[in-house]
Amino acid sequence: MHGNGTEDAGFWAPLGRGGLSSWIFSTDHKRIGLLYLALILAMFAAATVIGVVLRLKLMTPGNTLLGPQTYNALFTLHGVIMIFLVVIPSIPASFGNIIMPLQIGANDVSFPRLNLFSWWLYVLGAVLALVSIFTGSGAPDTGWTFYVPFSERTTTNVNVAVLAVFVLGFSSILTGLNFITTIHRLRAPGLTWNRLPLFVWSLYATAWIQVLATPILGITVLLIFAERVLHLGLFDPGRGGDPLLYQHLFWIYSHPAVYIMILPAMGVVSEIVPVFARKPIFGYKMIAFSSLAIAFAGSLVWAHHMFTSGMSDLAVLIFSFLTFVVAIPSAIKVFNWLSTLYKGSISVEPPLLYTLGFIFMFSVGGLTGLVLGSAGTDIHVHDTYFVVAHFHYVIFGGTGLGMFAAMHYWFPKVFGRGYDARRAAWAFWISFVGMNVLYMPMFVMGLQGMPRRYYDYLPQFARLQFVSTVGSWILVAGLTLMFGNLIAGIRNGRRVGANPWGAATLEWTLASPPPHHDFPQTPVVERGPYDFRGVSADD
């Protein structure tokens, strides 16, 4: 990849015998992070293509392009890949691995071999997911939620798919375990909890959710497997079982999991905003604290996914109330970012563009989340396109744009080169327009009663469905331009120095790209992460 001499190739320089095995068996956190990044982006591309195909089918009513069973399999696949292989690992596994140890002045994570093992588990999970599509009697058609009793009875290949989810969960747990230990044990001297970069704080909160919530998913999917193979009947209403308990178990993980998805992106935003506003972040402690508050409060609200399921009215009330509570720390963050921008000397570089995109999309997604979180309105829009629009705003508009912001922010550090900023800005605006054209109509359709996951629809939805599909094309054009631009940057971007943005966190004190073993001597930290006095861009 790097044609230049070894001295400025950093950790890209060949190691040992070089070649593929020096990457896929490397315990270097930077290489493992890049391995994750490559696979995650490949999975993202695959699932995006599936998404575009789904939109193509939905462009016109009636039996077009795909049969209903293929359609069911494809939306399941789109969900499973996007959630478990892309969004859950996205930022923590890639940039968490590459950047977090650098930000705390460590030379690696606490358990480097475990880190490698967790990447291999990710590979195994991806392979199993792939196997589940092409073996057995048809690809799973349950949706990514694997709801019982259908998932117990469908003849499609759910068994292998849930094993894939179990393995991927294990991989996620090991990453979280590694990060918690690393952040506790390997911070550089002087790097107190009050000086910890907010990206690290957000990863810390995320890691706790990964460790404490994921095992519940593990046992839940194991139980589906056991139900299908051993016929335990634990969720079978015909045998006294309660399908709602499955939903409880599933959401006890899967609601906190949305905070696994969004918290690291919030961390990225908290890094980028002060750097491009040239101002210390407003409300450092509140942002750090709100990450932990979101992690904790996020584990108290799972049953707001079940308001129409027939659970008790008391539970509806309590979980609806708690959902409003969890909105508070999220809002704290948004206000703090805006206050940081206020009266800053803002330079609108691509990372900041993606970050502003995040703030807009997340605000729309978050506020419409409250519509879903209040029991009264949820009855009306539950399981409609409104939900689909909401979570695509949060997950794609939030986590996705956060991930792209991270890619544009840390790109010079990882590759030692820059990219074309104008093209990156164009790519952003095209993607941003595309996203909104794609998902905004879904809010409207949802309010009008268009149910999610349906293969066909009434003629009244035809126009908005068509607009939404056109949006997907715009979005794909934007994404293509963005990835093309970044790849061109890797190939022949301008060489950059150690600190092209003038940021104050530790990773920018190292050469770009950083050397194999990170810090030649352990850094001593004497200032906060957003103290820009005396820090300037070096080229």
Binding site: S110, F111, N178, L212, L234, G240
Partner: protein, 199 residues
């Protein structure tokens, strides 16, 4: 390169974090148990009578004793008494095997009465009782797998002790294996009253 010495505190913290995941893994099943016991109090009561308190109690004693043995093996290694450590590890593994053999007899007795997951007989029982047995097999089964894994882990550590890869001044692996084994004991401490003593 990386750290020259091992970070014991990190290794232990990592192990505890892993134990949390095990606790919550079983936690999902305990949730189901609580839910169905709440709904089928009487059926659980009746179904529990069919379980043998003597066998369950014996296994409780076996596991608690094995927990003592693994703790003693750590003390022995800390004092530099390697052979004594190995003996106690061997005894721990022996206890694990006794537990599994006991479990085997218990399960096969149930099987011979037509009580196994998805059996005809279970389908004819009242729903609450069938669910009790489903939970019984799921929870003791998952626990049994953990006994097996724990014993294997202790076996590996025992080999390491023999080769001095785990020794008086570097025994965190033994401690962590011990922690795992105590967790296996811990889960059983709850399984025993919930299944054998609720009649």
């Amino acid at each position: 390169m990386t750290e020259m010495h091992k970070d014991y505190a990190a290794a232990k913290m990592g192990m505890w974090l892993f134990l949390f995941t095990e606790i919550l893994l079983f936690g999902g099943l305990f949730l189901l148990y609580a839910a169905y016991r709440h709904r089928f109090v009487l059926a659980f009561h009746q179904a529990g009578q069919a379980l043998d308190v003597v066998l369950g109690g014996a296994n409780t004693v076996v596991l608690i004793t094995s927990s003592l043995f693994v703790a003693l093996s750590i003390t022995a290694l800390q004092q530099g008494r390697k052979v004594r450590c190995q003996w106690f590890l061997a005894l721990t593994i022996l206890m694990a095997l006794v537990f599994l053999v006991n479990k085997y007899f218990e399960w096969s007795a149930k099987f011979s009465h037509g009580i196994y997951p998805g059996s005809e007989h279970l389908a004819q029982l009242p729903q609450g009782q069938a669910l009790f047995y489903s939970l019984y097999f799921a929870m003791t089964g998952l626990h049994g797998i953990h006994v097996l894994l724990g014993a294997a882990l202790l076996g590996v550590v025992m080999a390491f002790v023999a080769r001095d890869r785990v020794r008086q001044d570097d025994y965190v692996l033994l401690e962590n294996a011990g922690l795992y084994w105590h967790l296996v004991d811990l889960v059983w401490i709850y399984l025993f009253p919930l299944f054998y003593l609720i009649s």
